[in-house]
Amino acid sequence: MSNRTIKTWAWVHKWSSLICTVFMLLLCLTGLPLIFHHEIGHLLGTEVETPKMAPGTPHASLDKVLEVARAQHPDRVVQFASKDEDDDNLWFVTMTPTPDPTEDFRSVAIDARTAEVLAQPRFDEGFMYVMFKLHVDLFAGLPGKLFLGFMGLLLLVAIVSGVVLYAPFMRKLDFGTVRRDRRTRLKWLDLHNLLGVVTLVWLFVVGATGMINTWADLVIKYWQYDQLSALMVPYQGQPTVPVAERGSVQRSMEVAQAQAPHTKLSFIAFPGTAFSSPHHTTFFLKGNEPFTSKLLQPVLVDAKTAEVTAAPQLPWYLTALLVSQPLHFGDYGGMPMQIIWALLDIATIIVLGSGLYLWLKKGKTVPVPDPRSKPETETGEVPARPLSDQPVEQPLGTAS
């Protein structure tokens, strides 16, 4: 690789990483507690537990559960209802002022067997909420998400350019060399290269899937426009079906599940919400297999008649979104996987921090050798070889 090519890549690496580094550090730091959000919830006592009852205790009608939830917040509507991930006896009902997307929501946790309110956990306050919001959208809604998505894109550019620069930096060094006995800056350069190249694929996958996640809102909107709108033609011009005119949600759930056997409920989106239509209660069912449990099958049930209208296949872009999510969260392979995720996250923090350090210390380093001069061997930091393809000494600071 010629010096000029290296300089170009170094410029790309420098600016792509410099711009995104602060945000990436924020994402890595806030992501760390999010990897363990279930465990932290248990420790803080914010996870809702159902009381022990005889196994197989029959469940109350879902209509009763919803009635109880509505009684808690008569001024609100039910937007979503879902079963707890780990406990089939627990319903979570999300109540909002209107069916539109909003940050203003209340959650009511109801025992599926007795239809009694167990708790009203607040998911919109506290330490984990702040971590979550900083990680997802910087408290700035969709623009915040898209901004972080763009930072994710810059991270991917930084990773690719970092790979290109790895070769000229490491050509004369054994894999894993960290020159601790030399200047501090050289040690951090070696650590940056080592941790960067080892965590490369992981960080690329987590960065790319994170970026895809930031498009979720838009992807869902596109799905409504692309596929749901065709199904809605017969209902055009009608307002959202009022609660009083709706059929039984329990019966709707049964017909939806009969439509897609070997599935279980993921969540229910009520009429007029972002995941449904004004005329349907949409049941999102998930498969029973490890892989299919990450995918969703929507079943649209007419809110008035409780009859299935359609069960459209999830389009490829929503499938891609759903498959990419566990790859970002790292919560799909048990506790050891979460611990590995956290360690790789810490390694990334070191890569980002060392990159920043290398850039800040750029003024105190030996200048980039002139390609026409003799090799500079006495400093020990550039390998003794023809300088025509000698690397620039640092990935971030030299090509300005």
Partner: protein
């Protein structure tokens, strides 16, 4: 043009780490607490251990 023999000494281990990571990421997707999970722990654990070993523990001898 680089001599061919430089490729593997330079890229062999990074590629191995990348392949292990890919196996780990995918195998856990298709498993639920079984062999796939353990394979993921192993294949993702190795790059993590490599970071720790070379970055933290190992001391190279100073060359004269």
């Amino acid at each position: 043009m680089k001599p061919r023999h430089l490729f593997w000494p330079l890229w062999g281990w990074p590629i191995a780490m990348g392949v292990l990571t890919c196996i780990g990421l995918v195998s856990a997707l298709f498993s639920d607490g079984g062999f796939g999970d353990m394979l993921a722990w192993l294949t993702l654990g190795i790059p993590t251990a490599v970071c720790f070993w070379f970055g933290w523990v190992r001391r190279i001898e100073q060359r004269p």
